[in-house]
């Protein structure tokens, strides 16, 4: 197959040329893990990185963000709603990271759009690494199941450029005009490349929303939640979990900021109203909320599951609550109606 290829050396040079005008996010190696981070030089890129420990979410929807700022100055009260405008390149994302953006777009860009997310989204070009190339970091990674939610290791639908690794070179697929523009400063050359063997991942079919609805009152949720600690790891490591909290804080100089921060359906107080009423008082009801949000409510309202099959929650949950097992349990219940 004839493709345009770019060498790693050239990619590094190209990234360096982008750095002055762009914030570049790429996988780096930190301590004992790979993680997305803002890089200061192309030398920091961890080319052999596997799936990053953190999703790319924080660069579009930060863990903490000031959405309004009230300042009293000599001209009176000034109100700002700061929007990020610096061009960003998300380099070394995986197809699931791209799909995550499409999933979030459907809600956060729908009218009335979230202007903070929209600004970052518009400012970002996504240059992804396909899974399944030749070389370290090809994947699949422990816990991955992107095919179940309609994704795939070479899914090019939601990225601007898709790079497929062949050793130290990368086949370049400039998917969008935005991607082509960004690549205009990079040198590629044509080469004949072999087709890659498609990977063999275990099949895990996704039950339709109706199957999830049918299990809403099953005892399964109580059993599942027994070992759940009620931490927030799964929701914070998820590329598409977006629930947020908002509170004001006053700074010592009198400035007031409205903070928007990640929140989690697994926290005990997430749904509690002032005055004490809590409609989801048990961990079981909160665990159920997580899965129903992902596989019933979001598909019914936005057309896609609130999950990209990245597998981070699978490996990070301290008590090994495995979303794949939940999906399989619902599928099994569907086959054997109660």
């Amino acid at each position: 197959m004839n493709q345009e290829i770019i060498s790693r050396q050239e990619l590094s040079r190209w990234l360096e040329s982008l750095l002055p005008a762009h914030t570049i996010i790429a996988p780096v190696h930190r301590e004992d893990r790979d993680a997305f981070a803002i890089i200061g030089s192309a030398g920091e890129v961890a080319w052999d990185a596997g799936r990053t420990a953190n999703p790319a979410k924080e660069f579009f929807f930060p863990a903490s963000e000031t959405i309004v700022r009230w300042r009293t100055g000599p001209a009176g009260l000034q109100v700002e709603a700061p929007l990020a405008t610096r061009p960003q390149v998300l380099f070394g994302a995986r197809p699931c990271d791209g799909m995550a953006l499409d999933v979030l777009d459907r809600l956060l860009l729908a009218d009335p759009a979230d202007p903070y997310y929209r600004a970052r989204r518009a400012a970002t070009t996504v240059v992804a690494w396909a899974c399944g190339g030749e070389g370290p970091g090809a994947g699949p990674f422990e816990g991955c199941f992107c095919e179940t939610v309609g994704g795939g290791p070479a899914d090019r639908r939601f990225v601007d450029v898709l790079l497929t690794r062949y050793g130290d070179d990368y086949a370049v697929d400039a998917v969008t005009e935005k991607g082509r523009q960004l690549l205009s400063g990079a040198k590629t050359e044509p080469r004949e490349l072999p087709a890659l063997t498609p990977r063999d991942t275990p099949e895990l079919p996704m039950p339709p929303p109706a199957a999830w609805r049918a299990q809403f009152d099953a005892a399964f949720w109580t059993e599942l939640a027994q070992r759940c600690l009620g931490c927030r790891t799964c929701t914070y490591d998820c590329p598409v979990c977006y629930c947020f909290d908002a509170r004001d804080r006053a700074l010592p100089d009198g400035t007031i900021e409205r903070l928007r921060c990640w929140d989690s359906c697994q926290g005990m107080q997430c749904f509690a109203i002032a005055g004490g009423h809590n409609p989801r008082p048990t961990q079981a009801s909160r665990q159920r909320q997580r899965y129903m949000h992902k596989f019933l409510y979001y598909p019914e309202r936005e057309g896609v599951a609130l999950c990209v099959g990245c597998g981070r929650c699978v490996v990070d949950c301290p008590v090994n609550i495995d979303i794949r097992e939940v999906i399989a349990a619902i599928a099994a219940a569907e086959r054997v109606p109660a």
Binding site: V68, L107, F216, D248, D263, F271, P279, S285
Partner: protein, 276 residues
């Protein structure tokens, strides 16, 4: 006008009225007239105590009578409402809105008999409905109002009861669970009074709002009186952080209170996947 739905419009507190013990009415005058809300009865907004946070409250006056001001009835119960209750007239607040769906006023028109049951601060979101009916009296049928509270000092909008009761084809029933010295009115639970009055369900619609426990028993009584679930409308609340369907948490099952509600018919509520 701004296209950032998270940015509150600034408003000055034109008036803070004591409605009841621990409950105040905040009348907010927008600094930029262009930010005034255009809303229907049943919709809600977010009121910011700048420096602490914001919370959702029903818009408590009909648009026609609002004079462009946003009115919220606020019970002192948490950190944001604590901060609001400490404010003085003239202070600056933030307002976002309107949000949510509205009461189906068109379906109430004609000769349908309308029964409105408000408990405690739950009367506040019903007030725009009452006012709209009174301001277009000929377009609506007979109106039976039940206004209740745990005790006389918790009755809200008492000073307006006279106007409401005096309107044509309108009957007022005011009751408290427990009277006090000086209370000469009716004493009894709203459900007891409802049972006594026993409005006929024929061509009627009932609208209720109040504490969950009150709603539960009112629904039971209405059912006993023969009201079909499709004839009963209620307005619900839940924890909200945006009002725009983006913060992910206000849902009861697959129903998002800020998008699909807060106004629901009882037959819809009965289908809810979870308890609210």
């Amino acid at each position: 006008m701004n296209d950032n739905p998270f940015l509150p419009a600034l408003a000055r507190l034109a008036e803070i009225r004591d409605l009841a013990t621990g409950i105040k009415l905040f009348r907010c005058e927008f600094i930029d007239k262009g930010a005034e809300l255009h809303y229907r009865p049943g919709q809600f907004g977010f009121l910011s105590a700048i420096g602490v946070g914001e919370s959702p409250f029903g818009l408590a006056v009909s648009a026609a009578r609002s004079g462009g001001l946003a009115e919220f009835a606020v019970q002192r119960i948490g950190t944001v409402t604590d901060a609001l209750h400490e404010l003085q007239p003239g202070d600056l607040v933030g307002v976002r809105g309107p949000m949510g769906n509205c009461f189906p006023m068109d379906q109430l028109k004609g000769d349908r008999r309308i029964i409105i049951l408000g408990g405690g601060i739950g009367l506040a979101p019903l007030r725009p409905v009452i006012q709209e009916i009174l301001d277009h009296r000929d377009e609506y049928g007979p109106l039976e109002l039940f206004c209740a509270a745990r005790s006389p000092e918790l009755l809200v909008f008492r000073e307006e009861f006279a106007e409401w009761g005096a309107a044509p084809r309108t009957t007022m029933h005011v009751t408290v669970d427990k009277g006090n010295e000086g209370w000469t009115g009716q004493v009894g639970l709203i459900t007891q009074v409802l049972a006594q009055v026993a409005p006929s369900p024929g061509n009627a619609v009932a609208i209720t709002c109040g504490p969950p426990i009150m709603i539960k028993f009112v629904l039971k009584e209405l059912d006993r009186l023969g009201f079909a679930p499709e004839q009963v409308i209620m307005t619900l609340e839940s924890k909200m952080k945006c009002g725009l369907g983006k913060c992910g948490r206000c849902n009861v099952g697959d129903q998002y209170i800020c998008q699909d509600g807060p106004v629901f018919r009882y037959d819809q509520v009965r289908e809810f996947l979870e308890a609210f």
